[in-house]
Symmetry: C2
Subunit: 319 residues, 2 copies
Protein backbone atom coordinates (compact mmCIF):
# COMPACT_ATOMS: atom_id res chain seq x y z
CA UNK A 1 0.00 0.00 0.00
CA UNK A 2 1.37 3.45 -0.91
CA UNK A 3 1.70 5.72 2.09
CA UNK A 4 1.54 9.48 2.00
CA UNK A 5 5.00 11.08 1.90
CA UNK A 6 6.49 14.28 3.23
CA UNK A 7 6.49 15.56 -0.37
CA UNK A 8 2.73 15.04 -0.58
CA UNK A 9 2.41 17.04 2.61
CA UNK A 10 4.63 19.82 1.32
CA UNK A 11 2.47 19.99 -1.81
CA UNK A 12 -0.63 20.18 0.36
CA UNK A 13 0.92 23.02 2.37
CA UNK A 14 1.39 25.05 -0.80
CA UNK A 15 -2.20 24.39 -1.87
CA UNK A 16 -3.85 25.37 1.40
CA UNK A 17 -1.57 28.23 2.39
CA UNK A 18 -4.09 31.04 1.78
CA UNK A 19 -7.14 29.07 2.91
CA UNK A 20 -6.25 28.05 6.46
CA UNK A 21 -4.88 29.77 9.53
CA UNK A 22 -1.16 29.20 10.15
CA UNK A 23 -1.72 28.37 13.82
CA UNK A 24 1.07 29.30 16.24
CA UNK A 25 2.51 27.08 18.94
CA UNK A 26 1.37 28.47 22.29
CA UNK A 27 3.86 28.04 25.16
CA UNK A 28 2.25 27.05 28.47
CA UNK A 29 4.08 28.45 31.49
CA UNK A 30 1.63 26.58 33.75
CA UNK A 31 2.78 23.15 32.54
CA UNK A 32 5.22 20.68 34.14
CA UNK A 33 8.67 22.34 33.78
CA UNK A 34 10.23 18.95 33.06
CA UNK A 35 7.82 18.49 30.16
CA UNK A 36 7.57 21.94 28.54
CA UNK A 37 4.27 22.18 26.73
CA UNK A 38 3.02 23.96 23.62
CA UNK A 39 -0.55 23.90 22.33
CA UNK A 40 -1.31 23.79 18.59
CA UNK A 41 -4.78 25.41 18.46
CA UNK A 42 -6.48 23.99 15.38
CA UNK A 43 -9.72 25.00 17.08
CA UNK A 44 -8.98 28.44 15.64
CA UNK A 45 -9.45 27.43 12.00
CA UNK A 46 -12.41 29.28 10.45
CA UNK A 47 -14.69 26.25 10.84
CA UNK A 48 -13.36 25.53 14.33
CA UNK A 49 -11.36 22.40 13.53
CA UNK A 50 -8.36 20.99 11.63
CA UNK A 51 -10.66 19.30 9.10
CA UNK A 52 -10.45 22.31 6.78
CA UNK A 53 -6.85 21.42 5.93
CA UNK A 54 -7.69 18.02 4.46
CA UNK A 55 -10.91 19.13 2.80
CA UNK A 56 -9.32 22.12 1.12
CA UNK A 57 -6.38 20.04 -0.07
CA UNK A 58 -8.70 17.39 -1.49
CA UNK A 59 -10.68 19.99 -3.45
CA UNK A 60 -7.54 21.79 -4.59
CA UNK A 61 -6.13 18.52 -5.94
CA UNK A 62 -9.06 18.08 -8.35
CA UNK A 63 -8.85 19.40 -11.88
CA UNK A 64 -11.10 22.40 -12.53
CA UNK A 65 -13.60 20.54 -14.67
CA UNK A 66 -14.08 17.72 -12.18
CA UNK A 67 -14.34 20.08 -9.25
CA UNK A 68 -16.91 22.22 -11.06
CA UNK A 69 -19.36 19.30 -10.95
CA UNK A 70 -19.39 19.65 -7.19
CA UNK A 71 -18.46 17.60 -4.15
CA UNK A 72 -20.35 15.22 -1.90
CA UNK A 73 -19.69 13.96 1.58
CA UNK A 74 -21.47 12.28 4.47
CA UNK A 75 -20.80 13.65 7.93
CA UNK A 76 -22.62 15.33 10.75
CA UNK A 77 -19.46 16.73 12.26
CA UNK A 78 -16.57 19.03 11.52
CA UNK A 79 -15.81 17.42 8.17
CA UNK A 80 -19.23 18.47 6.87
CA UNK A 81 -18.52 22.10 7.64
CA UNK A 82 -14.99 21.80 6.27
CA UNK A 83 -16.20 20.52 2.89
CA UNK A 84 -18.97 23.11 2.76
CA UNK A 85 -16.54 25.92 3.57
CA UNK A 86 -13.88 24.72 1.12
CA UNK A 87 -16.44 24.29 -1.68
CA UNK A 88 -17.63 27.86 -1.16
CA UNK A 89 -14.03 29.06 -1.40
CA UNK A 90 -13.74 27.31 -4.77
CA UNK A 91 -17.21 28.44 -5.85
CA UNK A 92 -18.46 24.88 -6.48
CA UNK A 93 -21.57 23.14 -5.13
CA UNK A 94 -21.37 20.96 -2.02
CA UNK A 95 -23.89 18.27 -1.11
CA UNK A 96 -23.67 17.05 2.48
CA UNK A 97 -25.57 13.94 3.52
CA UNK A 98 -26.48 14.03 7.21
CA UNK A 99 -28.49 11.69 9.43
CA UNK A 100 -31.98 13.06 10.02
CA UNK A 101 -31.22 13.05 13.75
CA UNK A 102 -28.42 15.62 13.37
CA UNK A 103 -28.81 18.56 15.78
CA UNK A 104 -30.35 21.52 13.97
CA UNK A 105 -27.43 23.80 14.83
CA UNK A 106 -25.05 21.62 12.82
CA UNK A 107 -27.42 21.52 9.87
CA UNK A 108 -27.75 25.30 10.04
CA UNK A 109 -23.98 25.85 10.26
CA UNK A 110 -23.37 23.68 7.21
CA UNK A 111 -26.12 25.42 5.24
CA UNK A 112 -24.69 28.78 6.27
CA UNK A 113 -21.63 27.98 4.16
CA UNK A 114 -23.90 27.51 1.16
CA UNK A 115 -23.99 23.72 1.11
CA UNK A 116 -27.01 21.64 0.16
CA UNK A 117 -27.84 19.43 3.14
CA UNK A 118 -29.59 16.13 2.44
CA UNK A 119 -31.17 14.53 5.52
CA UNK A 120 -31.59 10.74 5.43
CA UNK A 121 -32.17 7.93 7.94
CA UNK A 122 -28.85 7.25 9.70
CA UNK A 123 -28.39 3.82 8.08
CA UNK A 124 -28.62 5.29 4.58
CA UNK A 125 -25.87 7.90 4.85
CA UNK A 126 -23.25 6.22 2.70
CA UNK A 127 -25.64 4.84 0.09
CA UNK A 128 -27.30 8.24 -0.24
CA UNK A 129 -23.92 9.84 -0.77
CA UNK A 130 -22.94 7.37 -3.47
CA UNK A 131 -26.30 7.90 -5.19
CA UNK A 132 -25.61 11.63 -5.28
CA UNK A 133 -22.15 11.04 -6.69
CA UNK A 134 -23.63 8.93 -9.51
CA UNK A 135 -26.53 11.25 -10.20
CA UNK A 136 -24.50 14.49 -10.23
CA UNK A 137 -21.19 13.22 -11.51
CA UNK A 138 -19.80 14.83 -8.38
CA UNK A 139 -16.72 13.79 -6.39
CA UNK A 140 -16.89 12.13 -2.97
CA UNK A 141 -14.63 13.75 -0.37
CA UNK A 142 -14.34 11.17 2.41
CA UNK A 143 -13.63 12.28 5.99
CA UNK A 144 -10.29 10.49 6.37
CA UNK A 145 -9.86 7.53 4.01
CA UNK A 146 -7.98 9.33 1.22
CA UNK A 147 -4.33 10.33 0.63
CA UNK A 148 -5.23 13.98 -0.06
CA UNK A 149 -7.08 14.21 3.24
CA UNK A 150 -4.17 12.65 5.12
CA UNK A 151 -1.66 14.95 3.39
CA UNK A 152 -3.78 18.00 4.23
CA UNK A 153 -3.97 17.14 7.93
CA UNK A 154 -0.23 16.41 7.79
CA UNK A 155 0.48 20.10 7.25
CA UNK A 156 -0.03 20.48 11.01
CA UNK A 157 3.00 18.25 11.55
CA UNK A 158 4.97 20.23 8.99
CA UNK A 159 4.27 23.41 10.96
CA UNK A 160 5.19 21.77 14.26
CA UNK A 161 8.49 20.50 12.85
CA UNK A 162 9.26 23.92 11.40
CA UNK A 163 8.37 25.93 14.49
CA UNK A 164 9.87 23.59 17.11
CA UNK A 165 12.52 21.43 15.45
CA UNK A 166 13.66 19.97 18.78
CA UNK A 167 10.19 18.76 19.78
CA UNK A 168 10.37 15.44 21.65
CA UNK A 169 6.73 14.35 21.82
CA UNK A 170 3.63 15.12 19.75
CA UNK A 171 0.19 14.13 21.04
CA UNK A 172 -2.96 14.13 18.92
CA UNK A 173 -6.33 12.34 18.93
CA UNK A 174 -6.98 9.18 16.91
CA UNK A 175 -10.38 8.38 15.44
CA UNK A 176 -10.53 7.61 11.72
CA UNK A 177 -6.79 8.19 11.82
CA UNK A 178 -6.37 10.81 9.12
CA UNK A 179 -5.01 13.44 11.49
CA UNK A 180 -2.57 11.11 13.25
CA UNK A 181 -1.43 9.58 9.95
CA UNK A 182 -0.63 12.96 8.46
CA UNK A 183 0.99 14.53 11.50
CA UNK A 184 2.99 11.40 12.22
CA UNK A 185 4.32 11.25 8.67
CA UNK A 186 5.44 14.88 8.76
CA UNK A 187 6.96 14.80 12.23
CA UNK A 188 8.90 11.59 11.57
CA UNK A 189 10.31 13.14 8.39
CA UNK A 190 11.31 16.46 9.96
CA UNK A 191 12.13 15.38 13.53
CA UNK A 192 13.13 11.71 13.42
CA UNK A 193 13.95 11.69 17.14
CA UNK A 194 10.52 12.91 18.21
CA UNK A 195 7.96 10.45 19.54
CA UNK A 196 4.45 10.53 18.10
CA UNK A 197 1.64 9.26 20.33
CA UNK A 198 -2.03 8.93 19.58
CA UNK A 199 -4.72 9.42 22.21
CA UNK A 200 -8.20 7.88 22.35
CA UNK A 201 -11.06 7.95 24.82
CA UNK A 202 -11.13 4.71 26.83
CA UNK A 203 -14.71 4.30 25.59
CA UNK A 204 -13.58 4.34 21.94
CA UNK A 205 -10.13 2.75 22.17
CA UNK A 206 -10.54 0.59 19.10
CA UNK A 207 -7.36 1.85 17.39
CA UNK A 208 -5.25 0.81 20.39
CA UNK A 209 -6.79 -2.65 20.28
CA UNK A 210 -6.23 -2.86 16.53
CA UNK A 211 -2.58 -1.81 16.90
CA UNK A 212 -2.04 -4.46 19.57
CA UNK A 213 -3.75 -7.08 17.38
CA UNK A 214 -1.85 -6.04 14.28
CA UNK A 215 -5.04 -5.76 12.24
CA UNK A 216 -8.27 -3.78 12.34
CA UNK A 217 -10.60 -4.77 15.16
CA UNK A 218 -14.21 -3.66 14.87
CA UNK A 219 -15.95 -1.96 17.77
CA UNK A 220 -19.67 -1.60 17.09
CA UNK A 221 -20.79 2.02 16.79
CA UNK A 222 -23.02 1.69 19.87
CA UNK A 223 -19.89 0.96 21.88
CA UNK A 224 -17.85 3.86 20.43
CA UNK A 225 -20.80 6.25 20.74
CA UNK A 226 -20.59 6.18 24.55
CA UNK A 227 -17.77 8.74 24.74
CA UNK A 228 -18.48 12.43 25.14
CA UNK A 229 -15.79 13.00 22.47
CA UNK A 230 -18.23 12.99 19.55
CA UNK A 231 -15.46 13.63 17.03
CA UNK A 232 -13.62 10.43 17.99
CA UNK A 233 -16.24 7.78 17.27
CA UNK A 234 -14.89 6.66 13.89
CA UNK A 235 -12.48 3.78 13.25
CA UNK A 236 -9.36 3.70 11.09
CA UNK A 237 -9.57 2.44 7.51
CA UNK A 238 -7.04 0.07 5.98
CA UNK A 239 -5.24 3.11 4.55
CA UNK A 240 -5.00 5.09 7.78
CA UNK A 241 -4.25 1.96 9.82
CA UNK A 242 -1.22 1.28 7.63
CA UNK A 243 -0.01 4.81 8.37
CA UNK A 244 -0.64 4.49 12.11
CA UNK A 245 1.37 1.27 12.25
CA UNK A 246 4.20 3.04 10.48
CA UNK A 247 4.36 6.34 12.34
CA UNK A 248 2.94 5.95 15.86
CA UNK A 249 5.30 5.21 18.74
CA UNK A 250 2.39 4.44 20.99
CA UNK A 251 -1.21 5.14 21.86
CA UNK A 252 -2.83 5.89 25.20
CA UNK A 253 -6.41 6.19 26.40
CA UNK A 254 -8.11 8.67 28.74
CA UNK A 255 -11.30 8.65 30.79
CA UNK A 256 -14.40 10.79 30.38
CA UNK A 257 -13.83 12.85 33.53
CA UNK A 258 -10.26 13.46 32.44
CA UNK A 259 -11.54 14.82 29.12
CA UNK A 260 -13.94 17.20 30.86
CA UNK A 261 -11.24 18.39 33.25
CA UNK A 262 -8.85 18.99 30.33
CA UNK A 263 -11.52 21.14 28.65
CA UNK A 264 -11.60 23.28 31.78
CA UNK A 265 -7.80 23.55 31.88
CA UNK A 266 -7.75 24.63 28.22
CA UNK A 267 -10.35 27.32 28.92
CA UNK A 268 -8.86 28.67 32.11
CA UNK A 269 -5.12 28.26 31.57
CA UNK A 270 -4.90 28.05 27.78
CA UNK A 271 -7.75 30.54 27.11
CA UNK A 272 -8.99 28.17 24.39
CA UNK A 273 -12.47 26.75 23.88
CA UNK A 274 -12.04 23.08 22.99
CA UNK A 275 -14.65 20.48 22.17
CA UNK A 276 -14.27 17.19 24.08
CA UNK A 277 -12.35 15.57 21.21
CA UNK A 278 -10.00 18.55 21.12
CA UNK A 279 -9.18 18.17 24.82
CA UNK A 280 -8.35 14.44 24.65
CA UNK A 281 -4.59 14.87 23.97
CA UNK A 282 -4.19 17.35 26.83
CA UNK A 283 -5.98 14.88 29.10
CA UNK A 284 -3.21 12.39 28.27
CA UNK A 285 -0.48 14.94 28.97
CA UNK A 286 -2.06 15.73 32.34
CA UNK A 287 -2.89 12.18 33.43
CA UNK A 288 -0.66 9.71 31.58
CA UNK A 289 2.84 11.13 32.16
CA UNK A 290 4.02 7.66 33.21
CA UNK A 291 3.04 6.19 29.83
CA UNK A 292 4.62 8.94 27.73
CA UNK A 293 8.17 10.05 26.88
CA UNK A 294 9.31 13.11 28.84
CA UNK A 295 10.50 16.31 27.20
CA UNK A 296 9.31 19.11 24.96
CA UNK A 297 5.71 18.26 24.12
CA UNK A 298 3.23 19.57 21.56
CA UNK A 299 -0.46 18.87 22.16
CA UNK A 300 -2.77 19.32 19.18
CA UNK A 301 -6.10 20.94 20.15
CA UNK A 302 -7.99 19.56 17.19
CA UNK A 303 -11.32 21.40 17.45
CA UNK A 304 -13.48 23.83 19.37
CA UNK A 305 -17.07 23.17 18.30
CA UNK A 306 -18.82 22.57 21.58
CA UNK A 307 -22.32 23.26 22.87
CA UNK A 308 -22.16 26.30 25.13
CA UNK A 309 -24.12 24.53 27.85
CA UNK A 310 -21.54 21.73 27.99
CA UNK A 311 -18.70 24.24 28.18
CA UNK A 312 -20.48 26.11 30.97
CA UNK A 313 -21.08 22.84 32.81
CA UNK A 314 -17.43 21.82 32.57
CA UNK A 315 -16.35 25.21 33.92
CA UNK A 316 -18.72 25.02 36.88
CA UNK A 317 -17.89 21.45 37.78
CA UNK A 318 -14.47 21.87 39.43
CA UNK A 319 -14.69 25.51 40.35
CA UNK B 1 6.21 66.07 23.18
CA UNK B 2 8.06 63.32 21.28
CA UNK B 3 5.72 60.63 20.03
CA UNK B 4 6.67 57.02 19.42
CA UNK B 5 7.52 56.35 15.76
CA UNK B 6 7.13 53.38 13.46
CA UNK B 7 10.90 52.91 13.73
CA UNK B 8 10.61 52.57 17.51
CA UNK B 9 7.95 49.92 16.94
CA UNK B 10 10.10 48.05 14.41
CA UNK B 11 12.95 48.05 16.92
CA UNK B 12 10.58 46.68 19.56
CA UNK B 13 9.45 43.94 17.17
CA UNK B 14 13.05 42.77 16.79
CA UNK B 15 13.57 42.77 20.54
CA UNK B 16 10.48 40.77 21.47
CA UNK B 17 10.45 38.37 18.51
CA UNK B 18 11.42 35.26 20.46
CA UNK B 19 9.56 36.16 23.64
CA UNK B 20 5.97 36.61 22.45
CA UNK B 21 3.54 34.66 20.31
CA UNK B 22 3.18 35.94 16.74
CA UNK B 23 -0.61 35.85 16.91
CA UNK B 24 -2.45 35.12 13.64
CA UNK B 25 -5.44 37.01 12.29
CA UNK B 26 -8.48 34.73 12.62
CA UNK B 27 -11.10 35.13 9.87
CA UNK B 28 -14.70 35.02 11.14
CA UNK B 29 -17.11 33.48 8.62
CA UNK B 30 -19.98 34.23 11.04
CA UNK B 31 -19.50 38.00 10.81
CA UNK B 32 -21.37 40.58 8.73
CA UNK B 33 -20.28 39.91 5.10
CA UNK B 34 -20.23 43.65 4.40
CA UNK B 35 -17.79 44.12 7.25
CA UNK B 36 -15.44 41.11 7.04
CA UNK B 37 -13.95 40.48 10.46
CA UNK B 38 -10.65 39.14 11.75
CA UNK B 39 -9.78 38.62 15.41
CA UNK B 40 -6.27 39.31 16.72
CA UNK B 41 -6.11 36.99 19.77
CA UNK B 42 -3.63 38.59 22.16
CA UNK B 43 -5.36 36.51 24.83
CA UNK B 44 -3.08 33.71 23.63
CA UNK B 45 0.15 35.32 24.83
CA UNK B 46 1.80 33.18 27.54
CA UNK B 47 0.49 35.43 30.32
CA UNK B 48 -2.92 35.71 28.66
CA UNK B 49 -2.70 39.31 27.48
CA UNK B 50 -0.89 41.74 25.17
CA UNK B 51 0.93 43.34 28.12
CA UNK B 52 3.89 41.02 27.65
CA UNK B 53 4.87 42.89 24.48
CA UNK B 54 5.38 46.21 26.22
CA UNK B 55 6.93 44.75 29.35
CA UNK B 56 9.44 42.64 27.44
CA UNK B 57 10.38 45.56 25.22
CA UNK B 58 10.91 47.83 28.22
CA UNK B 59 13.20 45.30 29.88
CA UNK B 60 15.04 44.56 26.64
CA UNK B 61 15.73 48.27 26.15
CA UNK B 62 17.66 48.52 29.43
CA UNK B 63 21.41 48.04 29.49
CA UNK B 64 22.50 44.80 31.15
CA UNK B 65 23.90 46.43 34.28
CA UNK B 66 20.78 48.47 34.94
CA UNK B 67 18.46 45.56 34.26
CA UNK B 68 20.45 43.30 36.59
CA UNK B 69 19.42 45.49 39.53
CA UNK B 70 15.88 44.36 38.95
CA UNK B 71 12.55 45.91 38.01
CA UNK B 72 9.62 47.26 40.00
CA UNK B 73 6.02 47.89 39.07
CA UNK B 74 2.66 48.46 40.71
CA UNK B 75 -0.28 46.60 39.24
CA UNK B 76 -2.80 43.99 40.25
CA UNK B 77 -3.61 43.05 36.69
CA UNK B 78 -2.07 41.70 33.53
CA UNK B 79 0.87 44.12 33.62
CA UNK B 80 2.02 42.59 36.92
CA UNK B 81 2.21 39.14 35.37
CA UNK B 82 3.81 40.53 32.22
CA UNK B 83 6.65 42.19 34.15
CA UNK B 84 7.12 39.10 36.33
CA UNK B 85 7.24 36.83 33.28
CA UNK B 86 9.59 39.10 31.32
CA UNK B 87 11.92 39.50 34.31
CA UNK B 88 12.16 35.75 34.65
CA UNK B 89 13.04 35.47 30.94
CA UNK B 90 15.91 37.90 31.54
CA UNK B 91 16.88 36.27 34.82
CA UNK B 92 16.51 39.47 36.84
CA UNK B 93 14.50 40.13 40.02
CA UNK B 94 10.98 41.59 39.80
CA UNK B 95 9.22 43.36 42.66
CA UNK B 96 5.49 43.84 42.16
CA UNK B 97 3.55 46.14 44.47
CA UNK B 98 -0.09 45.07 44.79
CA UNK B 99 -2.97 46.36 46.86
CA UNK B 100 -3.58 44.12 49.86
CA UNK B 101 -7.13 43.53 48.56
CA UNK B 102 -5.87 41.83 45.37
CA UNK B 103 -7.55 38.44 44.78
CA UNK B 104 -5.25 35.65 45.97
CA UNK B 105 -5.24 33.98 42.52
CA UNK B 106 -3.57 37.03 40.97
CA UNK B 107 -0.99 37.17 43.74
CA UNK B 108 -0.30 33.46 43.28
CA UNK B 109 0.03 33.76 39.49
CA UNK B 110 2.51 36.60 39.80
CA UNK B 111 4.55 34.73 42.40
CA UNK B 112 4.50 31.66 40.15
CA UNK B 113 6.66 33.57 37.68
CA UNK B 114 9.20 34.09 40.44
CA UNK B 115 8.35 37.69 41.30
CA UNK B 116 8.47 39.16 44.78
CA UNK B 117 4.99 40.47 45.60
CA UNK B 118 4.72 43.34 48.07
CA UNK B 119 1.20 43.85 49.45
CA UNK B 120 0.34 47.38 50.65
CA UNK B 121 -2.82 49.37 51.39
CA UNK B 122 -4.33 50.46 48.06
CA UNK B 123 -3.55 54.15 48.56
CA UNK B 124 0.18 53.41 49.02
CA UNK B 125 0.82 51.52 45.78
CA UNK B 126 2.76 54.19 43.94
CA UNK B 127 4.70 55.47 46.92
CA UNK B 128 5.66 51.91 47.87
CA UNK B 129 6.90 51.29 44.34
CA UNK B 130 9.01 54.45 44.33
CA UNK B 131 10.45 53.51 47.72
CA UNK B 132 11.50 50.15 46.30
CA UNK B 133 13.09 51.82 43.29
CA UNK B 134 15.15 54.05 45.58
CA UNK B 135 16.07 51.32 48.01
CA UNK B 136 17.07 48.72 45.42
CA UNK B 137 18.36 50.97 42.65
CA UNK B 138 15.83 49.11 40.50
CA UNK B 139 13.99 50.40 37.44
CA UNK B 140 10.28 51.24 37.43
CA UNK B 141 8.37 49.67 34.52
CA UNK B 142 5.09 51.61 34.35
CA UNK B 143 1.97 49.96 32.89
CA UNK B 144 1.52 52.38 29.97
CA UNK B 145 3.13 55.78 30.53
CA UNK B 146 6.45 55.08 28.76
CA UNK B 147 7.64 55.13 25.13
CA UNK B 148 9.06 51.59 25.34
CA UNK B 149 5.73 50.24 26.59
CA UNK B 150 3.83 52.02 23.81
CA UNK B 151 6.30 50.77 21.17
CA UNK B 152 6.01 47.21 22.47
CA UNK B 153 2.21 47.22 22.28
CA UNK B 154 2.53 48.82 18.83
CA UNK B 155 4.01 45.60 17.46
CA UNK B 156 0.42 44.35 17.32
CA UNK B 157 -0.33 47.05 14.77
CA UNK B 158 2.80 46.17 12.84
CA UNK B 159 1.59 42.57 12.56
CA UNK B 160 -1.90 43.65 11.51
CA UNK B 161 -0.52 45.91 8.80
CA UNK B 162 1.78 43.16 7.56
CA UNK B 163 -0.84 40.39 7.54
CA UNK B 164 -3.77 42.44 6.19
CA UNK B 165 -2.40 45.46 4.32
CA UNK B 166 -5.86 46.42 3.02
CA UNK B 167 -7.45 46.56 6.48
CA UNK B 168 -10.01 49.36 6.70
CA UNK B 169 -10.80 49.52 10.42
CA UNK B 170 -8.93 48.48 13.57
CA UNK B 171 -10.76 48.34 16.91
CA UNK B 172 -9.01 48.04 20.26
CA UNK B 173 -9.79 48.95 23.87
CA UNK B 174 -8.66 52.20 25.47
CA UNK B 175 -7.76 52.46 29.14
CA UNK B 176 -4.36 53.92 30.01
CA UNK B 177 -3.95 54.24 26.27
CA UNK B 178 -0.66 52.41 25.71
CA UNK B 179 -2.21 49.75 23.50
CA UNK B 180 -4.21 52.17 21.37
CA UNK B 181 -1.28 54.58 21.07
CA UNK B 182 1.04 51.87 19.84
CA UNK B 183 -1.37 50.13 17.49
CA UNK B 184 -2.61 53.42 16.08
CA UNK B 185 0.92 54.61 15.37
CA UNK B 186 1.81 51.41 13.52
CA UNK B 187 -1.43 51.11 11.55
CA UNK B 188 -1.35 54.75 10.44
CA UNK B 189 2.23 54.28 9.22
CA UNK B 190 1.61 51.03 7.34
CA UNK B 191 -2.02 51.51 6.22
CA UNK B 192 -2.67 55.26 6.04
CA UNK B 193 -6.19 54.69 4.68
CA UNK B 194 -7.28 52.51 7.58
CA UNK B 195 -9.39 53.98 10.37
CA UNK B 196 -8.34 53.37 13.97
CA UNK B 197 -11.08 53.46 16.61
CA UNK B 198 -10.78 53.04 20.35
CA UNK B 199 -13.50 51.41 22.44
CA UNK B 200 -14.34 52.03 26.10
CA UNK B 201 -16.98 50.78 28.49
CA UNK B 202 -19.69 53.43 28.92
CA UNK B 203 -18.96 53.23 32.64
CA UNK B 204 -15.32 54.21 32.08
CA UNK B 205 -15.56 56.48 29.05
CA UNK B 206 -13.14 59.07 30.36
CA UNK B 207 -10.90 58.99 27.28
CA UNK B 208 -13.82 59.85 25.00
CA UNK B 209 -14.70 62.79 27.21
CA UNK B 210 -11.07 63.90 27.28
CA UNK B 211 -10.80 63.70 23.49
CA UNK B 212 -13.98 65.77 23.12
CA UNK B 213 -12.65 68.31 25.62
CA UNK B 214 -9.21 68.41 24.04
CA UNK B 215 -7.49 67.83 27.38
CA UNK B 216 -7.44 65.15 30.07
CA UNK B 217 -10.63 64.95 32.10
CA UNK B 218 -10.45 63.12 35.40
CA UNK B 219 -13.03 60.50 36.33
CA UNK B 220 -12.66 59.43 39.94
CA UNK B 221 -11.61 55.80 40.32
CA UNK B 222 -14.90 54.94 42.07
CA UNK B 223 -16.70 55.94 38.87
CA UNK B 224 -14.40 53.98 36.53
CA UNK B 225 -14.42 50.95 38.85
CA UNK B 226 -18.10 50.29 38.09
CA UNK B 227 -17.39 48.47 34.81
CA UNK B 228 -16.98 44.72 34.69
CA UNK B 229 -14.01 45.35 32.37
CA UNK B 230 -11.44 45.40 35.16
CA UNK B 231 -8.58 45.97 32.73
CA UNK B 232 -10.06 49.24 31.47
CA UNK B 233 -10.26 51.28 34.65
CA UNK B 234 -7.12 53.37 34.09
CA UNK B 235 -6.95 56.80 32.44
CA UNK B 236 -4.55 58.05 29.76
CA UNK B 237 -1.42 59.93 30.77
CA UNK B 238 -0.25 63.12 29.06
CA UNK B 239 2.03 60.95 26.90
CA UNK B 240 -0.59 58.45 25.76
CA UNK B 241 -3.23 61.17 25.38
CA UNK B 242 -0.96 63.00 22.92
CA UNK B 243 -0.74 59.78 20.91
CA UNK B 244 -4.48 59.15 21.04
CA UNK B 245 -5.19 62.67 19.73
CA UNK B 246 -2.77 62.02 16.91
CA UNK B 247 -3.78 58.53 15.79
CA UNK B 248 -7.42 57.83 16.72
CA UNK B 249 -10.13 58.49 14.16
CA UNK B 250 -12.78 58.07 16.80
CA UNK B 251 -13.81 56.39 20.00
CA UNK B 252 -17.03 54.59 20.90
CA UNK B 253 -18.48 53.20 24.11
CA UNK B 254 -20.32 49.97 24.90
CA UNK B 255 -22.62 48.81 27.70
CA UNK B 256 -22.03 46.15 30.30
CA UNK B 257 -24.53 43.67 28.86
CA UNK B 258 -22.98 44.15 25.42
CA UNK B 259 -19.58 43.27 26.89
CA UNK B 260 -20.94 40.08 28.45
CA UNK B 261 -22.68 39.07 25.24
CA UNK B 262 -19.49 39.67 23.25
CA UNK B 263 -17.63 37.35 25.64
CA UNK B 264 -20.17 34.64 24.80
CA UNK B 265 -19.80 35.25 21.05
CA UNK B 266 -16.02 35.01 21.33
CA UNK B 267 -16.31 31.69 23.18
CA UNK B 268 -18.94 30.09 20.98
CA UNK B 269 -18.13 31.48 17.53
CA UNK B 270 -14.49 32.51 17.95
CA UNK B 271 -13.55 29.63 20.30
CA UNK B 272 -11.61 32.16 22.39
CA UNK B 273 -11.79 32.79 26.10
CA UNK B 274 -11.75 36.56 26.60
CA UNK B 275 -11.84 38.58 29.77
CA UNK B 276 -14.43 41.39 29.79
CA UNK B 277 -11.84 43.99 28.70
CA UNK B 278 -10.81 41.73 25.83
CA UNK B 279 -14.40 41.52 24.55
CA UNK B 280 -15.02 45.28 24.55
CA UNK B 281 -13.89 45.89 20.94
CA UNK B 282 -16.04 43.05 19.59
CA UNK B 283 -18.98 44.51 21.50
CA UNK B 284 -18.49 47.69 19.47
CA UNK B 285 -18.30 45.77 16.18
CA UNK B 286 -21.54 43.95 17.05
CA UNK B 287 -23.51 46.89 18.41
CA UNK B 288 -22.07 50.15 17.05
CA UNK B 289 -21.95 49.52 13.29
CA UNK B 290 -23.67 52.86 12.69
CA UNK B 291 -20.85 54.73 14.46
CA UNK B 292 -18.02 52.93 12.69
CA UNK B 293 -16.58 52.88 9.15
CA UNK B 294 -17.63 49.83 7.15
CA UNK B 295 -15.17 47.41 5.58
CA UNK B 296 -12.46 44.94 6.48
CA UNK B 297 -12.21 45.08 10.26
CA UNK B 298 -9.67 43.77 12.76
CA UNK B 299 -10.78 43.45 16.38
CA UNK B 300 -8.03 43.10 18.98
CA UNK B 301 -8.92 40.58 21.70
CA UNK B 302 -6.58 42.07 24.27
CA UNK B 303 -6.72 39.49 27.07
CA UNK B 304 -8.22 36.26 28.38
CA UNK B 305 -7.69 36.26 32.13
CA UNK B 306 -11.19 35.75 33.46
CA UNK B 307 -12.64 33.99 36.50
CA UNK B 308 -14.09 30.68 35.36
CA UNK B 309 -17.32 31.32 37.23
CA UNK B 310 -17.86 34.57 35.30
CA UNK B 311 -17.18 32.81 32.01
CA UNK B 312 -19.61 30.04 32.90
CA UNK B 313 -22.21 32.62 33.89
CA UNK B 314 -21.85 34.49 30.61
CA UNK B 315 -22.26 31.25 28.66
CA UNK B 316 -25.41 30.27 30.55
CA UNK B 317 -27.02 33.66 30.36
CA UNK B 318 -28.21 33.73 26.73
CA UNK B 319 -28.23 30.03 26.03
Amino acid sequence: MDLVTIDDIRTAAERIRDAVVRTPLLPCPWADPERPLWLKPESLQPIGAFKLRGAHNALAALDDKTRARGVVTYSSGNHAQAVAYAAREFGVPAHIVMPDVTPQVKVDNTRAYGAEVVLVPIGERESAAYELVEKLGAVLVPPFDHPDIIAGQGTIGLEIGTDLPDVELVLMPVSGGGLASGIGTAVKALCPNAAVFGVEPELAADAAESLRAGSLVDWPIERRARTIADGLRSQPSELTFAHLRSVLDGIVAVGEDEIRAAMAVLATKGRLVAEPSGAVPLAAYLNRADELPRGRTVVVVSGGNVERTLLADVLRRDS
